[in-house]
Amino acid sequence: MTLPISYATFYLADFYFGIPSASVVELTNTLMITPVPLAPSAISGLINLRGKIVTAIDLRKRLGITSRPELEGSVTVFVNRNELLFGLIIDRVCDILELDSSDFQQPPHHVSEDIAELIVGFHKLPDKLMFILDLDKLIYGCIASNADIAKE
């Protein structure tokens, strides 16, 4: 018997994703973002979350999903990674789901390699698939994925 794992779930376009809800700190409508010139393209910029400067990552861009016309109406999920906050910009939030880990399956083979790397696996739900994201790769991969950072 395995313990159920709790996931915070959300949508990006028609794709359904989940991240461990334990790492989620809070959700807000996307706040004012200051773009950072020369930053990797998946990084939307910096957000002031009550005095803390938080790096915001546009998950659509990060996952190669066609980007939304504008950020308005989007939601930012703040997650805690190694005592630091990061903002993940998503389309809309869904429920917190408790799923049994026996249900869990390895990443499918048909997704492209770049994306497969960011996905730990998926759960098959009655009506859809839920992809579980690898938060660390999702976040810290942003540094390496950009060749434009340092010219010198």
């Binding site: 020369l38 002031n48 630091l84 010198e152």
Partner: protein, 753 residues
Amino acid sequence: MKNHAQILEEFLLETQEIFDQLDIDLVRMEQEPRNDKLLASIFRAMHTIKGSSGFFAFRRLEKVAHAAESLLTKLREGALHATPDLTDTLLATLDALRLIVGGIAEQHLEPVGDDATLLTQLAALTEGSSFAKTLPNDVARPGVLGDSAYPTPAGFSQATFNDTGTRVDVDLELLDAAKQADLMAPVKISVDLLDELMDLVSEMVLARNRLLSFASSSADANFSSTVRTIDLITLELQERMMKTRMQPISTVWSKFPRLVRDLARECGKNVQLIEIGAHTELDRALLEAIRDPLIHIIRNSVDHGIELPQQRVAAGKPETGTITLCSKHENGMVIIEIGDDGGGVDLGLVAATALQKGLVSQERISRMTDREIINFIYLPGFSTKPFITEVSGRGVGMDVVRTKVQQIGGAVEVVSSSKGTELRLRIPLTLAIMPALFVQCATQRFAIPQNNLLEMIKFAPSDSGLEDFYGVPVYRLRNRLIPIVDLGHELGFDSLKKESDENIHIVVVQANGLVFGLMVDKVLFLQEVVVKSTGPLLKNISIYSGATILGDGQVAMIFDVGGIALRSGLVSKLTDQDLQSELPGAVTRVAATQSMLLFDLAHMPRLAIALDYVDRLEIFPIHKVEQQGQHDVIIYGENIMKLIWLSDYIESPSASKSCSSENINVIVHYHQGQPIGLVVQHIHDIIEIAAEIVLIMPSQAGIVGSAIYADQVVSILNVEEILQLSKINSYDLHKKNEDTILHSHFTPEGVLT
């Protein structure tokens, strides 16, 4: 009841403090061998260590401390005098004690070791005085100090006390004082907690800013006054919070007397160290950062700077060399000057070494100024010493100094002559908060640290000052060519073309010894910013040093000016094209001062007016002042001069026109051809004020901002605003001028100019 570990912890802390103090005192003792008070304090310190080690039964520590104490007894009684050898031994003893205590701190046990040589030395010195009457025999004889022959600690200290009579009382008094101090003892707070508090205060400041903007648009008086109270408390809180991060520079300096002494002994030189301004405070993190650079500089001064005694005498200098450490606050920076009266930097030798190392061509070096040649000493691995000494000469000195100082936003300058060398470090007070200039590029705001800022230039595109120099756009500023970096281009804003008829704004900055201009779309304002990290994902982008939160809650990036220079390729382009040599300005600093006239008002001293506005200074008897309509006027040459009582606009209304004397002091300024008299209380002098003016928030009527002059704040008058407020316009004046032309034959009473 405290447990053993806690008491041990206190013991370790206390001995550490005692050791540090002994370092200083022992060196002083050598210079002032007859200072009884000093000797008494050294003795007491050693005695305390002995006593505590007895309590903890640290036998080794106790033995060494005891032997040292015996020697100190002799010194205190005047039976012996401090000689360099004796001081050496005592300092060596101190080091041995440190080592033992260090071992205790690590393992909570006394480390094993043999102090026989040291003990023999101490005993020999103690015995060296033939009239050793008060000393117990077993201490005086070397070799008898074995454990078996050693009396119990209690019995031993008893013996010492009996010998020296009144000392028991002294120690009792000390004990009382110690108890008192225990109650008042500072509370230990973890640095992390302090940093968190600092963060919270910064957030509070920002929240307060938002609150203030609500209050200004609110009609509720209660709300407004509450907000004002919060405003004041926040300000106070912020200041106090900043204080907690500050420490006097003496925490770093305290090691230097010992350092200088030891180095000088090693080099066979006589060097004294003079410290001025040891109480100057700066941020704890910065103190840590300047420790190594300062040690490097002092090593250099002793080893390279100060000559050998015979050379000094031959050069007509006192035999003992002097190193002066001086620190002070200036324009919101801490200035640390390290001067020596040694031989100075041998420019010939530096130039020859540079040639020999192939750093520069013969032809080029002949054209270089002294100042440019001196800059070679900053190059990594550059040393003129033909051989490596114990002390220095490895060529890792000055480049490390400069790199470290620049890392914390500071600057180093060297001035050298045959009379000595002086290094001047400019260090910001704190890293957490700094003044920055906000500029706009495309639609975004960015901050440029004020440390990097030299000046701002605005010109119309038609008045093209931009030229092309080997593919680098340059601007001709006062006959100097300054390379220009188009910020919009660097940031990738190329698609957003600015309108061609807009003014061009250039912010002249300096970093790593390079002066260049940043072309921006708009210059916004100067503000203190709280520097925050950009986080792990963005910290690789070299053009930013951090981020900050503005009053409206938005995030703005703070530039790393050196990073921009690197990224833009300016540095490599300049080295390729030899542009540096064409740019003398790249080495010399732009004079960042402006002339001001310093004056007082009745209730507000130390105001300054830019000298550009001052045409004449006059004194008039007060009865010459006439009323004309709403204005006070006075006859001045062929004109009627309207008087502006500055107190009416700057001070509280109650203070206005409280003119105690019979005469009034007037600063005459010609406004559109007409004289305007600014009435002030007292005129001082013309002073040079740093061009960096701190803006005051909230702004005060009639004042642009303040600057610091001679450690005091000077408020700078906003002449344009005063003229506007006083509703003087040229039309009015002309009219009145015609009305009163009759009086034109009168002349002013006194001329000060």
